[in-house]
Amino acid sequence: MLWASRAASYLRISAFHRGFSTVLKDLKYADSHEWVKVNGNSATIGITDHAQDHLGDVVYVELPEVGAAVKQGDSFGAVESVKATSDVNSPVSGKVVEVNEELNNSPALVNSSPYENGWIIKVEMNDAGELKKLMDSDQYSKFCEEEDSKH
């Protein structure tokens, strides 16, 4: 039994290296599996491919109000999948300037296009220094491997 689960973990990791869960190079990542794309003072935020895979099919996305304040590491909304609501945390602090209304009609965009059409909110950052606390793509890939090997 133990051998089988070790083998399975190993295979999962191998599949990961073959690009099973995508990690994009130019994004920053939080340890709660959200990504952020920075453009000047503007940050676009969503959840990663690893996150959407571990969630299952998303059926509902709870979005914050435009104008709401977000704080690094705190929840700003939630996604529902397989009868579970999972909080989504903001990788940066600032003010919500736009939310992806498309997700109200097509929550599954989070699964099919987690880094593009499945983006969740756009934030005007108030402290770009916070980005230092986030992981780059290599660190995040390693983080995911370590997490997945825990079971």
Binding site: S75, E80, A84, T85, S86, D87, E147, H151
Partner: protein, 235 residues
């Protein structure tokens, strides 16, 4: 690979829904700062209808004013899932566990909760299975015997599963259970030919299945923990 994992079980008897919710909120905060180990509440509720985050109260088929007449409450929650009923003789587990320590996401967690109930059912010769896509829960053919609704915050779980030992199934007629029309709700009593032992034993079996499936090596049991003082603290 990782050290032995400890589970603390609170055996609570019948608990009012809001009291259980307040307790879970406190336990989630405590678990987040590692003040307590992985904990699971084992309990039953008085007749209670609950809806999830999507507030699907359109699936309550009687007017809210009728609820008092049938002796039931209605609560709105932050868990996933649709409308459901909880009542006496339905075994509930509310695990408050840190999913990141086992590298689990929502999908793995919910699958394991389904397996917990499937295993329990099999102890009584009942062949249950998880639902088809989009129908999370535990089914005996197309009759639902177990429901799941979960919340995950900072990787810590709350709410959980409800397994029908022998609840009054008439209460389910007042809702579209879990938002799925035209499917029956059933119970262990209805599905098994085996004589059922005392409910406390079935609760313990459910907890054992949970502990085994989630790989806990140590279980500590806490009987009748006082929650009144906790409520005062929270206010």
């Amino acid at each position: 690979m990782r050290g032995p994992r400890k589970l603390e079980v609170w055996k609570m008897g019948v608990v009012n829904y809001l009291d259980a919710l307040k307790l879970q909120e406190k336990l989630v905060s405590d678990r987040k700062i590692c003040k307590i180990p992985d904990t699971v509440l084992s309990l039953q509720h008085p007749p209670t209808y609950t809806v999830g985050k999507r507030q699907t109260d359109h699936n309550l088929l009687i007017p809210m004013s009728e609820l008092k007449n049938i002796g039931a409450e209605l609560h709105y929650t932050q868990r996933g899932g649709d409308i459901t009923f909880h009542g006496p003789r339905q075994a509930i587990l509310y695990p408050v566990i840190a999913l990141r320590e086992i590298g689990f996401g929502a999908r793995n967690y919910v699958e394991k909760l389904e397996s917990t109930m499937i295993e329990l059912a099999s102890l009584y010769g009942v062949k249950a299975c998880s639902g088809q896509k989009g129908e999370t829960g535990v089914w005996v053919e197309d009759r639902k015997i177990g429901a799941i609704g979960v919340r995950i915050s900072y990787g810590i779980t709350s709410h959980g599963l409800a397994f029908n030992i022998d609840p009054d199934l008439k209460y389910f007629k007042h809702i579209v259970p879990c938002g799925i029309a035209n499917k029956e709700v059933t119970s262990l009593r209805r599905e098994t030919v085996t004589e059922l032992p005392a409910e406390e034993i079935i609760h313990e079996q459910l907890i054992s299945c949970f502990a085994r499936l989630f790989g806990y090596s140590t279980i500590t049991w806490k009987e009748n923990p006082l929650i009144l003082s906790d409520n005062e603290e929270i206010e």
